[in-house]
């Protein structure tokens, strides 16, 4: 276990939004589950059969203390032993941008999960662009609070990048939710989502 994937700090939890996408009594694998808040919510309120994977020992201990089933492992390598379609949902919440091999991780998630829920901070959000354009420095915000030299976010992406990625790989986007400040803004954004949303949540299948 060579590196640490940390959750993006200062994030407004999108747990309600993600939780609404998950059917009751289903099985859920939560990758990069952190302290297990989302998974705990799903286990308690949706009666899911849940497993979390997290690399950071402190988070693993805290998630275990919530009574969750947790495996400490690296999600870039730790999915190979799951069977095809073994999980109803595989969730990767705000962690895609910190994986070493995001393309491989998404493929693996689609292999082991019937449905994949994936969220990430949108690097094309206007405030991020503004920061880079006018300050000429790597953008920092609630979503991207780190310095360029210590950020765990090594594979930043935009909503348009993700659309292109899915198209190339024949991945179906079943649902796309655009948020700013933790609130869904789909009705306003549509065509301008890539500019106006801070975060995107996708439900994808193959």
């Amino acid at each position: 276990m060579k590196y640490n994937v940390k959750k993006t700090k200062g994030l407004k939890p999108n747990y309600d939004i993600v939780s609404k996408m998950v059917k009751e009594n289903s099985s859920v694998l939560d990758l990069g589950c952190g302290e297990g808040e989302l998974l705990k919510e799903l286990v308690d309120n949706k009666n899911v059969k849940g497993l979390g994977i997290e690399i950071n020992q402190d988070y693993v201990v805290k998630a275990l203390e919530k009574g969750l089933q947790i495996i400490q492992d690296n999600i870039d390598e730790g999915l190979k032993d799951f069977e095809n379609g073994q999980w109803d949902y595989v969730i990767l919440n705000q962690t895609l941008q910190s994986t070493v091999k995001p393309d491989f991780v998404v493929e693996e998630m689609l292999r082991i999960g019937k449905k994949v829920i994936l969220s990430f901070p949108n690097f094309a959000y206007w405030k991020v662009r503004f920061d880079l354009f006018f300050n000429g420095k790597m953008p920092k915000s609630d979503f991207l609070p780190f310095e360029w030299y210590n950020t765990p976010n090594i594979h930043l992406l935009t909503i348009n990048d993700f659309f292109e990625f899915c198209k190339k790989r024949q991945i179906k986007i079943e649902k796309a939710i655009y948020c700013t400040r933790g609130k869904i803004k789909n009705s306003i954004f549509k065509a301008t989502a890539n500019l106006l949303s801070e975060e995107a949540i996708f439900l994808i299948t193959r």
Partner: protein
């Protein structure tokens, strides 16, 4: 404060037990201790297993004069990881041992003399079979099993051999099979004993024991229980009670003195033949070989598993815990896993009790 006094009890198995090697062993005694109270439903049981040279005395003191408590005292007791307010905890000495349970130093009923090397070669499966008799004597039908190092091997074997009884399995710093490196260290230890001029083909009980060989075996063992970092922290290159070397072959360095001391105190409490038998059982243990694959080994288990490894443990490395974890995933069993950061090497499972306590408590609470 008053010492928590516990008594080591004895259980005689009234029938003979057929061992994996084919030999029938009779008159088996099992030394064991219990902590906490067995409830009416007899479903609050945790069976603990000791490591290579441990014994049934896992917690408390056997007498007021005892200076040291049992080997896992930090983990067993009121409010501790294995909470005696809730659970009835049992720990027995392993078959082949020398701390009360029948082993090579016990009297062979056929000859009236200690078995010595006439004692049959035992396996982890045999030791589990004997523990099962003890558990049956209490009328216990469901239990949780837990152990570190070789104790973890026994816990694994329990979950596989008695799938309808074991509801949860807690494994710390263990493996489903020892590496070639691990076997190699055991082999050197056994050779030290076998080459001792007092060994006398295992028949030494009325003579001088092969103490030099056993002490060397223990010294080798201790090297494998530590790691480079823990040795550096503990001893560095410091000299023992001196500022400069003596330019002879006595003890110069602190690390030498430590190993010599560990060897010396070990021969007073352990039998050389038991060391041979138990390390052999240790080496033979290989679930993948026994069942075709590790995944197949776990096929029938009904247990939830909790696995913990320690970052600096190179004798039972994290990779071996991950092997167990991965096989359990493939077998679609419930498993949690945590690698605990520690500079203490393999010994960490006896020392790092704070994190283990947090994890084990949560795991047990969730079973309720």
């Amino acid at each position: 404060m008053n010492k928590w006094i516990v008594e080591t009890k004895n259980f005689k198995i009234d029938e003979s037990v057929v061992l994996e090697c084919g030999t029938e062993l009779s008159d088996i005694n099992v030394a064991y201790e219990t902590y906490g109270e067995l409830n009416d439903k007899k479903d609050n049981v945790i069976l603990l297993f000791h490591a290579l040279t441990g014994d049934a005395h896992a917690a408390g003191y056997n007498s007021d004069e005892d200076k040291k408590p049992g080997w896992w005292n930090d983990m067993i007791g009121s409010g501790k990881a294995f909470d005696t307010d809730k659970y009835f905890i049992i720990c027995s000495n392993i078959l082949g041992g020398c701390k009360g349970t029948t082993g090579p130093s016990s009297i062979n009923p056929k000859t009236g003399k200690p078995y010595g090397l006439d004692f049959p070669v035992i396996t982890i499966e045999d030791t589990v079979k004997v523990q099962k008799k003890l558990i049956d004597s209490f009328g216990i039908k469901k239990l949780i099993v837990a152990g570190g190092s070789m104790g973890g091997m026994q816990a694994l074997q329990w979950s596989i051999d008695y799938p309808d009884m074991v509801k949860a399995t807690i494994l710390t710093a263990t493996t489903s099979r020892l590496s070639a490196q691990g076997i190699a260290f055991n082999a050197v230890g056994r050779n030290a004993i076998l080459q001792d001029s007092n060994f006398n083909n295992g028949d030494y009980y009325d003579k001088t024991h092969p103490e030099k060989g056993l002490a060397i075996a223990r010294m080798i063992g201790h090297i494998t229980y530590l790691c480079e970092e823990s040795m550096h922290n503990k001893f560095g290159r410091r000299f023992q009670d001196k500022d400069k070397p003596d330019f002879d072959f006595g003890v110069d360095f602190q690390v030498e003195s430590y190993l010599q001391h560990q060897g010396k105190i070990f021969v007073d409490r352990f039998d050389a033949n038991s060391y041979l038998y138990i390390t052999k059982a240790f080496d033979y243990f290989d679930l993948a070989a026994q069942y075709g694959s590790l995944e197949k080994a776990f096929e029938k288990t009904n247990s939830k598993f909790l696995i913990m490894s320690f970052s600096s443990d190179w004798l039972f490395p994290t990779s071996q815990s991950l092997e167990i974890k991965n096989a359990l995933i493939r077998a679609k069993k419930q498993v949690s896993f945590c690698e605990i950061q520690s500079p203490a090497g393999h010994d960490a499972f006896l020392l790092e009790f704070e994190v283990q306590t947090k994890i084990i408590k949560s795991f047990l609470r969730n079973l309720e």
